[in-house]
């Protein structure tokens, strides 16, 4: 009976939301705040999943035979705990997991190398289901569904009630990023394995109708698009990674004409959008000395001004290098509190060593450095 209710009610509510958002883009509400209410840790034991306030995916390193893992952070007590997934579930997460997604009371972990998506309880991290799907690269959620960007050229839809895949649509080679907004799922098509031919079949973002997974629109973007984010107005931002040679990375905003406008240019970019602010890091490498310098910026997406650098040195003794990320791997903003979390390798060449997650206040003031697994790649908050 409950299932029946959910099946009938949720689509109806979702449809209402879609219609409402069509009326006025500004009324779009970011899925995070509505679908992911805060979950208070149910335990004081910070060694258990129930005692954490956030989970970090450590991607590991397949070349060095390091499997992926899930670490826990307690951002109130400033503690971290490794290997929570394998300890809790008594089996491994798999190889090369990607950025996780929290949707409702569950966390979804896409595991690229192991061809699966784990569905776990957000409080206890207990695995509820392992959904097999080819090379999951990215996730997003809306209207009771979780969408998976499969690197084999598909987007797969998972029904969060039945925890089963319900539909799949071919979208183009090597989809790399996903975001849901305004009744659509936006998927970036990178054609990343076709670099020899200039990523010729990529360079676009496809918008799929959430209900039918039919292509609703196609947007031309610069070469090698990756992460996709939506702001609170439902506008879509895409990080394009360039060709690693002559075309530099950019962050672009999709337009209404099937094109896009450049918002940010950089050397090596990571981004996250929170509300109406775009946060990004830019890493510049000096090729003469092989040293990299990272700067962090915030861009008010409603205003007309340019990016403002967030000075991560803005503490009394922040010159200590241990308070700065050596080689960032992700940037994420906590939905509550607006703190910046930056994942990083321990050193510039620490790709097979445990890394860190750095926490800063919104103004860049250093808060804490958490230990994490190898190659921290993304995080979710309870």
């Amino acid at each position: 009976m409950n299932k029946l209710l959910y099946r009938l009610l949720l689509p109806t509510l979702a449809l209402m939301g879609t219609v409402a958002s069509c009326d006025d883009d500004n009324n779009y509400r970011h899925e995070t705040s509505e679908d992911n209410p805060p979950i208070t840790p149910s335990s004081d034991d910070v060694t258990k999943p129930e005692g954490q306030t956030a989970f970090v995916v450590a991607q590991g390193n397949q070349g060095y035979a390091i499997s992926g893992e899930v670490d826990g952070l307690n951002t109130s007590k400033h503690t971290s705990q490794t290997n929570l997934f394998s300890v809790t579930n008594r089996q491994g997460l798999g190889d090369t997991p990607q950025a996780p997604l929290r949707y409702g009371s569950r966390i979804y972990f896409p595991v690229f190398g192991s061809n699966c998506v784990w569905v776990c309880d957000a409080q206890s991290l207990r695995a509820e289901k392992q959904i097999m799907t080819a090379a999951p690269e990215a996730l997003c959620a809306a209207d009771g569904y979780v969408f998976v960007a499969n690197n084999d050229g598909h987007v797969t839809r998972i029904d969060t009630l039945t925890m089963a895949t319900t539909q799949s649509a071919a979208v183009g080679p090597n989809p790399a990023g996903l975001a849901a907004a305004d009744g659509k799922v936006y998927v970036s098509i990178s054609d990343g394995y076709n670099w020899q031919n200039g990523y010729v079949n990529g360079k676009k973002v496809v918008a799929l109708d959430i209900r039918s997974l039919a292509v609703a629109a196609t947007y031309d973007v610069p070469v090698n698009p990756g992460a996709v984010c939506a702001d609170d107005a439902g506008r879509i931002y895409v990080l394009t990674r360039g060709d690693y040679a002559t075309v530099m990375p950019q962050i672009v905003r999709l337009g209404h004409d099937g094109g896009c406008e450049v918002v940010v240019e950089g050397s090596s970019l990571l981004m996250d959008v929170s509300g109406s602010t775009l946060y990004f890091t830019d890493t510049v490498t000096d090729w003469a000395t092989y040293t990299s310098t990272t700067k962090t910026y915030a861009l008010d997406l409603k205003g007309q001004g340019g990016p403002q650098e967030i000075n991560l040195d803005a503490t009394a003794d922040a010159a200590e290098t241990r308070r700065l990320p050596a080689s960032p791997t992700f940037i994420q903003v906590s939905p509550r509190g607006g703190h910046l979390f930056i994942g990083s390798l321990a050193t510039g060449s620490g790709y097979a060593e445990p890394g860190y997650v750095y926490e800063y206040q919104a103004d860049g003031a250093y808060v804490y450095r958490y230990s994490a697994g190898v190659m921290p790649f993304g995080m979710v908050f309870k």
Binding site: A65, Q91, Y193, Q196, Y290, S349
Partner: protein, 666 residues
């Protein structure tokens, strides 16, 4: 004394030229063959008389020690760290004294292989059935006169294959059939035919087929399961046709054409929850070479030329890739020429010079490492002094190289000069012969084409990776008698340093780059021992063992957690031992190899620890005559205690298995 010195020089020279000299004695040889007549006898002592660490395995010794494949043979050599990806088709590469596989040069029948693309040789391509001898020399080849390429390498692994039987005037035929676990079949046929009194024609062929779908265990907590390797079929054929012309005064001209073809399905890394793999690898190698050597009075000379063509076609079928497959198709051509001259000025002084020229080109279906080439000139000048118990060899080596590349930046060229010095002093002679030896060598290895040009990560500005090796050792040999057939012991300590290491690391999340970064300090000790006794006629007991201690510390970045830790996949302790009893009824060999714990990561992350392993095996065999045929039946039980272990993490080694071999020779 003079005769002895001459013999030693002769042995050195002939050993350098490898198969050139092997078995070249007796019946069809011309009268002036005093030096070559000594080759077969002193081989067991080469390890203890050389001033550099030398280890040798002959086909007979391999049989006696229960060796079943090339990888197994390499694990019986001290100082060798074998990376074995498991099973009959698994990649097997050799790293000596922790310096990395790219510092080891593999020579087949006396001439070096070229691995300019990836830098390391897959030892799996050499079927043990075709290998007559395997010899590992460190720091410097044991002989004064040799191809400069071999003198330039930090370590040389020499394989001698398919040698004609020059002792017999009649045609010689050798055939064997091996059947083993997991549908393994491998027939081998070799024949040599004397054309004239001075000419031999030989031909050999080896075919191997294996499903190779051995069981393994996935340790994954409550989801642990027993699976079989999939997509692991191996098919391989090796063939060789050779011609040997014996010249007057001990000269010889040897010519051969060899073909290697393999078609493999690759099972890949064991990945949790993934049960299939669809990678393929096809490889073809064709090589044609000829070599002349001559000794006349105080002069020795050789000249050799070689052409090789290799093709490697790799495919990974997956919908992720454009066109449904990732395809990498490489075609490599290799021209090599070498010539040298040695003059024995006095019985106690010899000088030699040699020169190599080498050209390698690579074409591929890739955008970057395509249409690239490298030309190298190598020149060496060597001096050897033998005075009573003292021996000194000094060698200077000049190496010039430059690169060519179509439509892109070329890798940098340069000229280097590297010296080698080795000395030996016989402490005692008589019943027990003790010798002290020391050597120091500076060497380098060039960046591979992949490291220089591969998309994104390649860097044309790479410098060579440099190595400094020092060795100090002691050898002991007990004179043979009626009971004691062999008793040798070698102990060598060493300190090596590798700097400007060529490593690939990420500059940021998406961009990896290869660069010269870091240093490794390597300290260790290698020991070998051999004891053979004959308590009664027809009975021989042989005990052999080797032990290696290696401390391979990364000294790159003090801020890194990897700093000072043991290098990945490098055991601190490793060794092998065998005990064999040869008798008229049923011969037996019991053998083991072992290694201490290792890590797959530089930082020694706890979950990447590889437990110590000990792999035991036993072989039973019997030889008998069947008419004119000399036959042997042999059974091998491998990994007899079914120990589960990985040498390379997530590439499980096979469990208990068997091999049955029937061989016959005429």
């Amino acid at each position: 004394m003079k005769a002895l010195l001459r013999s030693l020089v002769g042995i050195g020279c002939l050993a350098a030229l490898g198969p050139l000299s092997a078995k070249a004695s007796g019946h069809v040889a011309p009268p002036d063959t005093l030096a070559t007549a000594e080759v077969t006898a002193p081989r067991p002592a080469a390890a203890v008389r050389s001033t550099v660490p030398t280890q040798q395995l002959t086909a007979a010794e391999m049989a006696l020690r229960g060796v079943t494949d090339t990888g197994d043979a390499l694990r019986r050599l001290a100082g060798v760290n074998l990376r074995d990806y498991g099973g009959a088709g698994g990649l097997k590469t050799v790293s000596v004294r922790g310096m990395g596989a790219t510092h080891t040069t593999v020579a087949v029948d006396g001439l070096p292989l070229n691995e300019a693309r990836g830098g390391q040789t897959d030892m799996n391509r050499f079927a043990i059935e075709s290998v007559e001898t395997m010899e590992l020399t460190l720091l410097d080849p044991g002989s004064l006169l040799c191809p400069v390429r071999l003198a330039a390498a930090a370590a040389v692994l020499r394989l001698t294959t398919w040698q004609p039987d020059t002792l017999s005037p009649r045609p010689h035929l050798r055939a064997s059939l091996t059947q083993g676990s997991w549908q393994t079949w491998s027939p081998t046929l070799f024949a040599s035919l004397p054309l004239t009194r001075r000419q031999q024609l030989s031909a050999g062929a080896h075919y191997a087929f294996s499903e190779n779908d051995y069981p393994f265990y996935v340790d994954n907590g409550r989801a642990s399961q027993r699976l079989h390797r999939t997509n692991s079929r191996l098919q391989r054929i090796d063939s060789r046709v050779g011609h040997l012309l014996l010249l007057p005064h001990g000269g010889r001209v040897e010519t051969a054409v060899s073909l290697h073809h393999s078609h493999q399905r690759l099972p890949g890394q064991v990945t949790l929850y993934v049960y299939d793999n669809d990678e393929r690898l096809d490889e073809q190698d064709v090589e044609a070479w000829t070599r002349w050597s001559q000794r006349r009075g105080r002069w020795q000379a050789y000249a050799a030329g070689k052409f090789g063509y290799s093709r490697s076609k790799y495919a990974d079928y997956d919908a992720q890739y454009p066109g449904g497959a990732l395809r990498e198709d490489y075609r490599r051509r290799h021209w090599y020429g070498s010539a040298g001259l040695q003059w024995d000025v006095w019985p106690w002084l010899s000088v030699a010079t040699a020169g190599d020229v080498e050209r390698t080109t690579l074409q591929s279906n890739q955008q970057t490492d395509n249409d690239v080439g490298r030309t190298e000139w190598l020149q060496s000048l060597s001096v050897e002094v033998h005075r009573r118990r003292f021996s000194l060899t000094a060698r200077g080596l000049m190496h010039h190289y430059h690169h060519t590349a179509q439509a892109r930046s070329t890798a940098r060229g340069d000229t280097h000069f590297d010296p080698t010095l080795r000395v030996g002093y016989t402490l005692t002679e008589g019943r027990i012969r003790l010798m002290a030896r020391a050597a120091v060598k500076r060497s380098f290895r060039l960046p591979t084409f992949t490291e220089s040009y591969y998309h994104h990560s390649g860097d044309v500005n790479l410098r060579p990776e440099r190595a400094l090796q020092t060795n100090l050792g002691l050898t002991m040999e007990v004179r043979r008698n009626r009971l004691l057939k062999a008793c040798t012991l070698t102990v060598d300590g060493y300190i090596n340093r590798v700097k400007d290491r060529i490593q690939t690391f990420p500059l940021n999340l998406y961009l990896w780059r290869t660069t010269n970064l870091g240093r490794a300090d390597l300290r260790g000790l290698d020991a070998t021992a051999r004891l053979a006794v004959s308590p009664a006629k027809g009975h021989e007991l042989a005990l052999t063992g080797n032990y290696s201690y290696l401390c391979a510390a990364d000294k790159t970045d003090p801020a890194s957690t990897a700093y000072g830790r043991q290098a990945p996949y490098t055991p601190r302790h490793s060794g092998a031992a065998s005990a064999a009893w040869e008798n008229p009824w049923l011969c037996m060999a019991l053998h083991t190899t072992c290694a201490s714990e290792r890590w797959s990561t530089p930082a020694h992350i706890a979950t990447t620890r590889l437990a110590p392993y000990t792999d035991w095996g036993v072989a039973l065999y019997r030889s008998f005559r069947l008419g004119r045929w000399h036959c042997r039946v042999r059974g091998d039980l491998l990994n007899m205690f079914n120990h589960r272990y990985d040498i390379v993490r997530n590439y499980p080694m096979p469990g208990r298995s068997y091999r049955l071999t029937l061989s016959a020779s005429l």
